[in-house]
């Protein structure tokens, strides 16, 4: 835990100093909502359309975070410094996923109210606990896949293209699961319970990909 705390502290401190990821993610997310607001030529959305817009916006804004996740380590020798330490390399993956999860929460703290203000017809108040659970599962899935894919993409020349190209197909089950779960919550007069099947699928996908990523992460860091 000492190592995880050191890595997480370093990640968050670097982001606070450089502001390279979170402000860009927030700005991009809110901009997408504005574009949808005008592009759809509708005063408001609800149900499946609202769920799709929210999930896809979080996904695209999150890609900015994915692309920056390992850049400081690659460009400033952070990988070598970490690899020289006598520590389990899995901690780096866990710290990167944890940092990205925190960035997504920061994004959603601004983007979800902006979404409600700009596009959403029904209020979010009633469905808030369920919404937070779905967003947590969406964030976890995104952070796990991005932490894995980012480590692959950062060592290539076309990292800004390769990261999203690998990550997006892997994220399709997360997108489908999150959108299906959000759809009843964002319907007029919605709320109600969450679909247990989709909840289980999303949770299981996060768990399986988390374990798979831990298994393959160490060899990824080898030369």
């Amino acid at each position: 835990m000492r190592v995880l705390a050191a890595l997480l502290r370093k990640e968050l401190r670097l982001e606070l100093r450089t502001l390279e990821s979170v402000p860009g993610m927030i700005l991009f997310g809110v901009t997408i909502f504005v574009v949808f607001h005008f592009g759809l030529d509708r005063a408001s959305v609800e149900g499946d359309l609202a769920a799709g817009i929210l999930v896809v916006t979080i996904l695209f804004a999150g890609m900015l975070g994915l692309n920056r996740l390992y850049v400081a380590d690659e460009e400033q020798g952070g990988f070598d410094g970490f690899l020289l330490a006598p520590v389990d390399r899995t901690w780096l993956f866990v710290a990167k996923a944890g940092a990205l999860f925190a960035y997504l929460v920061a994004l959603e703290l601004v983007a979800v109210p902006a979404f409600a203000l700009l596009l959403l017809e029904p209020g979010l108040g009633q469905a808030l606990p369920e919404l937070l659970l779905v967003l947590a599962l969406l964030n976890a899935g995104f952070a796990i896949i991005a932490a894995l894919v980012g480590a692959i993409a950062v060592r290539t020349r076309a990292r800004d293209l390769l990261g999203p190209l690998i990550a997006l197909p892997l994220l399709i089950p997360v997108v489908i699961g999150a959108a299906r779960l959000l759809e009843p919550l964002l319907r007029e007069g919605g709320a109600g319970g969450l679909d247990a099947t989709w909840l289980a699928i999303l949770g299981l996908y996060d768990l399986v990909f988390g374990l798979l990523s831990i298994a393959v992460f160490d060899p990824l860091l080898e030369d």
Binding site: V3, R9, K10, R13, A72, G81, L83, L84, A85, P86
Partner: protein, 228 residues
């Protein structure tokens, strides 16, 4: 005396390009090996293999009794590397960088303050590394490399960007305590200076060993010939 480094037929290729081939040598603990050779001769590749950061593609490597890469995990933490890259995050201060590395290596935070003073960065320790001169960055990087008191220290042109006074001030840190001197592998382009600190001299040319002998038996001219 124990053996710190044993290389037998060591080679490393990057795809078709061979960066290092057929390096065989033994270095006893506490001794200094200085590696000479023109740019691209394979010096940095050799250091990265010894640091466990690169896998050899030919031959065998034993470092501090550990066969690499199989037992690299046992050697890490006993090796320090001061390479061309300072391995410091530019937006963090020297103190934050060193505390981060100290936590990774399980080193007490007091050691960080002690080292920052030793390299003359005490007064600027809380400024971002991006505001440092090259010499200051090199001093901070040297402090990082010896933070965990490594048995084996790998130094890639360690005096680059340092004025003579700063280079002299770093020397005790890089050499280690007199009763337990570090084993060192140093790359150098300075024939006279390099030979003065070497116990063993290795000359590389196009990845191949062109010279390997006790430093006392090597002349400055022989080193100079590697560059012609």
């Amino acid at each position: 005396m124990t053996t710190a480094i044993e290389l037998a037929g060591l080679g490393r290729a990057y795809g078709e390009r061979v960066a290092l081939r057929d390096v065989t040598l033994t270095l006893e603990a506490g001794r200094t090996l200085v590696v000479f050779g023109p740019n691209g001769a394979g010096k940095s590749t050799l250091l990265r293999i010894l640091a466990t950061l690169l896998r050899p593609t030919a031959g065998t490597v034993r470092v501090l009794g550990c066969a690499l890469p199989r037992e690299a995990w046992r050697a890490r933490g006993r090796i320090g590397l001061l390479g061309h890259d300072p391995m410091l995050y530019r937006e963090l201060s020297a103190r934050q960088n060193l505390r981060y590395h100290a936590r990774l290596h399980g080193v007490a935070p007091e050691r960080v303050d002690e080292l920052l003073d030793a390299v003359g960065l005490g007064a600027r320790a809380d400024d971002p590394v991006s505001t440092y001169s090259r010499g200051m960055v090199q001093r901070a990087a040297a402090a990082r490399a010896v933070l965990h008191d490594p048995e084996l220290l790998l130094l890639d042109e360690p005096r680059a960007n340092l004025d003579p006074a700063a280079a002299a001030a770093l020397e005790p840190l890089l050499a280690g305590p007199p009763q337990r001197p570090r084993t060192r592998v140093v790359t150098s382009h300075d024939p006279a200076g390099g030979l003065a600190e070497a116990d063993v001299a290795l000359g590389l040319r196009a990845g191949r060993p062109a010279l390997l002998a006790p430093a006392a038996e090597v002349t400055v001219d022989e080193i100079g010939a590697l560059y012609r």
